[in-house]
């Protein structure tokens, strides 16, 4: 990426990493016919390519010789177990406000009986997976990117290599495996917490009967709704882990670079989650329609 040359003269600092090249970078032949926009898209294409190569390398390294079990277990704990409190709080309060708002909006129209169903469906298909992914990105993804980034800039990744240890197998693979495995579970956990939160406020604050809250669920919630949540959790898990690891492993520029890359990785992950969520919602519901047409 360093090889991309910022346009001289007209250039207003195309790619931030290039400013470190200092004076020598300004002396060579400029490429005037490449505009800022073209350079940016080139940069983007190269980065995407490198990102995909990292994913392929991770799969290859895992298949050739799986990472050590203790490394995976440590990541399972750090990503999964240690995230439970924050995911629980997120799910719980989301369910709580969802139920409260639904109740306020629906009660005067005589529709308050669907409050429970509304909470459950929303949590399962959208809010559970997306908010869990957001919390995990902030809690795990950022830490991961910063950790790998500082390992990169202090030459610890190089040191691994000189000791014949593949950094992809040793650092990236355990994180990606553990993260993608844990995300569906965390998602389900947050969904359960959300429905529980909704239940508490509906029953104890609005005086709904517990039966009224739960009754519509068995009839209207299908296995496919749960499936949507789990699939989304899994895909978001892949996004969070691979983007954080990619950004971390490609950090340059010392402590400042670590900070910059961490911010970047969180922003990119959020965008990918939101965009991916849109396509998953449309895609999965299309699949559901197709299936129900056959059945």
């Amino acid at each position: 990426m360093k090889d991309i040359i910022p346009p001289n003269g007209s250039g207003n600092g195309a790619i931030s990493s290039n400013k470190n090249n200092g004076a020598p970078a300004l002396k060579g032949t400029p490429i005037p016919f490449l505009s800022n926009g073209v350079l940016r898209s080139l940069h983007f294409i190269i980065a995407t390519g490198e990102y995909l190569v990292l994913i392929i390398d991770t799969i290859k390294a895992t298949l050739r010789k799986p990472p050590a079990l203790n490394l995976i277990l440590k990541q399972l704990y750090d990503i999964g177990v240690a995230s439970l409190p924050v995911v629980a709080i997120t799910g719980f309060f989301t369910g709580l406000v969802l139920a409260a708002q639904s109740f306020y909006q629906l009660a005067d129209k005589g529709l308050s009986s669907v409050t429970g169903l509304m909470v459950a469906k929303a949590m399962m298909t959208e809010l559970g997976p997306v908010l869990t992914a957001f919390m995990v990105t902030g809690r795990v993804g950022a830490a991961m990117c910063a950790e790998l980034g500082s390992m990169r800039v202090t030459e610890q990744v190089d040191a691994l290599q000189t000791m014949s240890v593949d950094p992809v197998r040793y650092l990236v693979a355990p994180r990606v495996l553990a993260g993608t495995f844990m995300m569906p579970f965390l998602t389900i956990f947050s969904i359960v917490m959300g429905i529980f939160g909704g239940y508490l406020i509906s029953v104890f604050f609005f005086g709904m009967s517990p039966n009224a809250y739960f009754d519509p669920m068995p009839t209207h919630i299908q296995l496919f709704d749960v499936f949507i949540g789990v699939v989304k959790g899994f895909v978001f898990g892949v996004f969070i882990m691979t983007i954080s690891c990619y950004k971390g492993m490609n950090t340059t520029g010392g402590a400042e670079g670590v900070g910059k890359n961490t911010t970047n990785s969180v922003v990119i992950t959020y965008c990918c989650i939101l965009l991916g969520n849109f396509f998953l919602t449309v895609g999965l519901n299309t699949i559901r329609d197709q299936i129900s047409r056959f059945l």
């Binding site: 360093k2 040359i5 290039n18 020598p24 202090t154 040191a159 000189t162 014949s164 240890v165």
Partner: protein, 255 residues
Amino acid sequence: MIKIRNLWKKYGKVQVLAGLDLDIKTGETLVILGRSGVGKSVLLKHIIGITKPDTGTIDVDGVRITDLKGEQLYKAIKSMGMLFQGGALFDSMNVEQNTAFYLTQHGDPNTGKLYTNGELKDTVAEALHMVGLEGTQKIMPSELSGGMRKRAALARLICYRPQILLYDEPTTGLDPITAMHINELIVKTQKELKATSIVVTHDILSALYVGDRLALHKDGKIAYIADPETFMNIDDEIIAFLRKIISHDPRSFRE
């Protein structure tokens, strides 16, 4: 025998290596001198294969390192080791785990046999004793001083007895006594392992102490390479400066 031929590497617009040629004999200690930023560390990273040149080749004992990647590379460099400038200790592990890292990953470098916990402890204690860091096993790298970190990194390196050792500025930033201790260790390790050592430094005292041959890295190439005595008599402004450093009273530099 390490053969480097026509090595080129560019970072951005800076030509760091420009057609570098170098032969390193088995069993010798070669010191590469050069000013900061001329690409001495980059050269070491090329020799151990973790950085790839733009063009050019490096053969280590007949194996073309520059053509290898992934598993093949890691296999080929198993008997090579590098001491990094900042130590590059893993901050998530204590000194003991750091020192034992290679052995826990690969077992015995020759037989591949995995060590028992007791054997590991003994080997680590021995290596730490060699660098004068006894009893630091349970300390985390962040609690060590710069010099201690470098010595712990050296312990991690000699623990697995590599046949080719690369030192990236081993004495930079150390007090003169510790620096001399490190120099002694380099020579001792060299003798004990009958290893090939490449030391990159700009510390002329250290270079003269450890080096069998000295080389000057300048403008992306090895400008001169010779035994210490001949080297110090070469007519070159950098070498003239080095001569002045070791033979003059520092006050004489004042104008």
